[in-house]
């Protein structure tokens, strides 16, 4: 059998195998991570821990995962796909070894530090940076697909884990999840290649020819850099990262406070609130894939602005009708409409922001630049959750923090809309003015 890595047969463009592999990696790593919640009750019962003990491990994991992204992104920029493969194996082994948990410090170290940091290496950020090398015209489409893979992972692996615990126990379930993650390692070893050039191919599978001749695109953007610090001396990365801060704030707010808001402010039952939140999560993949595909046809910054504007409008639709006394939208229907619209926009910002960053700053430091942008996202999220809790304590409702979040989204939309994509994006270099509609 010829190794996939050495094969140069014609047929389907090899980049699609890289996409499929990254989809599976995102699916199993994110899904197994999301399944942590199913271990809270059985592990707490066996070790007589309270819930906050396991929550600390989860929180440590969020912290280490977020803060490690720029460093692992930089490592990826230097070493390429082997960073993803090595860290994938560490995540798989670490997950399986969680079956040996005997003390909460073991759990905190292995889950909170080791697997969380390794997950930064096998993250969506690095997979996105890799795929940006393989695709130029379909860049956001493929980034949307792998973001959708991450959502699909939770939909599949969380129920898998729930029922495996019921059928066996939590130790076997950790081993099974580790083995599932490990399934991705040989696939990654076989199919992940650092760039199309290494296989004698061109981005998007275009025919060989002079630089940019096949696609009509230049491959070097005006602000191309190999240092992330340099990118932050120019305006566009701030116009992407500041809205990404708002993205983190408005999605963390929903993740942490929405169910409480639905019950306390809108009087919904816990079951209904949970169902609405689950629907919101289910809409993620659709929104991410749809936004990616659209942005490869239209201006990315306009779509990014539209996503923020839509999410802001959803927030207003949730909050304003009860204040104005509009009966239909003040009840369950208003919350359901909000769940669908907000859910569609939930992860849609990710493929748009990353592909726009790649289009403006090139590929040499993309892992590090998107890693730093991701820190903006996490800081915005943590700050918003803290502030919302404080304002809820002071005012007795979530109206003020939710209104503030909704308002910030319109600022984010304006910020994204103001990006001069035509001047800075590689998509508009050596390209007829009418090539991308809607700008």
């Amino acid at each position: 059998m010829t190794s996939p890595a050495n094969n140069t047969n014609p047929g389907i463009y090899y980049g699609w195998y890289v996409v499929a592999t990254c989809f599976f990696i995102a699916m199993v790593t994110t899904g197994a991570r999301g399944a942590m919640g199913i271990f809270v009750i059985p592990m707490s019962e066996e070790f007589e821990w309270n819930r906050s003990t396991i929550s600390i491990a989860g929180a440590l994991g969020t912290l280490f995962n977020g803060m490690a992204q720029p460093f692992f992104g930089r490592w990826f920029d230097r070493q390429g796909s082997k960073v993803i493969i090595v860290n994938l194996v560490i995540v798989a082994l670490g997950t399986a070894l969680l079956s040996l948990t005997f003390h909460y410090l073991f759990l905190m170290f292995l889950f909170g530090v080791v697997t969380s940091m390794a997950l930064s290496g096998a993250s969506l950020n690095n997979a996105s940076a890799l795929l940006a090398r393989w695709f130029l015209r379909k860049r956001a489409t493929v980034l949307g697909l792998i973001s959708g893979g991450a959502s699909t992972g939770s939909l599949v692996l969380v129920p898998f884990g729930i029922y495996l615990i019921q059928a066996t126990n939590w130790r076997i379930t950790w081993v099974a999840l580790g083995m599932i993650i490990f399934l991705a390692a040989p696939l990654a070893l076989a199919f992940l290649q650092d760039s199309p050039a290494k296989r004698g191919l061109r981005p998007d599978g275009d025919a060989a020819g002079p630089e940019g001749a096949a696609s009509g695109l230049s491959s070097i953007p005006p602000l191309d850099t190999d240092r992330w610090r340099e990118s932050f001396r120019s305006l566009p990365i701030w116009q992407v990262s500041v809205p990404f801060f708002v993205c983190g704030a408005t999605t963390f707010l929903l993740a942490f406070h929405f169910v409480a808001f639905a019950q306390e402010d809108r009087g919904l039952s816990p079951t209904m609130a949970g169902a609405i939140f689950a629907v919101m999560g289910g809409m993620n993949a659709l929104g991410s894939i749809g936004a990616g595909m659209l942005s490869d046809r239209f201006s990315r910054k306009n779509l990014l602005a539209l996503v923020y504007f839509t999410r802001g409008s959803a927030y207003m639709l949730l909050l304003v009708p009860p204040l104005l006394g509009i009966p239909f939208l003040s009840g369950d229907a208003g919350v359901w409409i909000f769940a669908v619209v907000a859910g569609l926009s939930w992860i849609a910002t990710n493929p748009l922001s990353v592909s726009l960053t790649a289009d403006v700053y090139g590929l040499r430091a993309l892992g590090a630049i998107t890693g730093v942008s991701f820190v903006f996202h996490q800081v915005g999220g943590a700050g918003a959750v803290l502030l919302a809790g404080f304002l809820n304590d002071v005012t007795g409702s979530y109206t003020v923090p939710f209104l503030a979040a909704g308002s910030m989204l319109f600022v984010a939309a304006a910020c994204a809309f103001s990006i001069n994509e035509r001047k800075y994006s590689v998509r508009y270099q050596a390209q007829p003015a009418s090539a991308f509609a809607g700008d």
Binding site: G34, I56, F160, Q166, A167, P186, A255, Q378
Partner: protein, 78 residues
Amino acid sequence: MSAWAILLSAAGHHGEAADPDLLEWIKGFLDHAFDLGPWTVVAVLGLLIVSIPVSISAFYLWQQRRSRPKADSPEDRP
């Protein structure tokens, strides 16, 4: 509200641990909707997961085999 709880609130958006109460609700919903035994659900979902890398590899090999006869066709030989 603890700082840990705030950090944990990344739930769902970037693959952090989901709320155990929500997961209980999801399990109840699935039990009610499908009424299947736990091993049946594990087997179905396990097969679904394993089928993805197997399908990718099989498709690659099929493509490779499909394109090979063209390279070896009589017209290509000297």
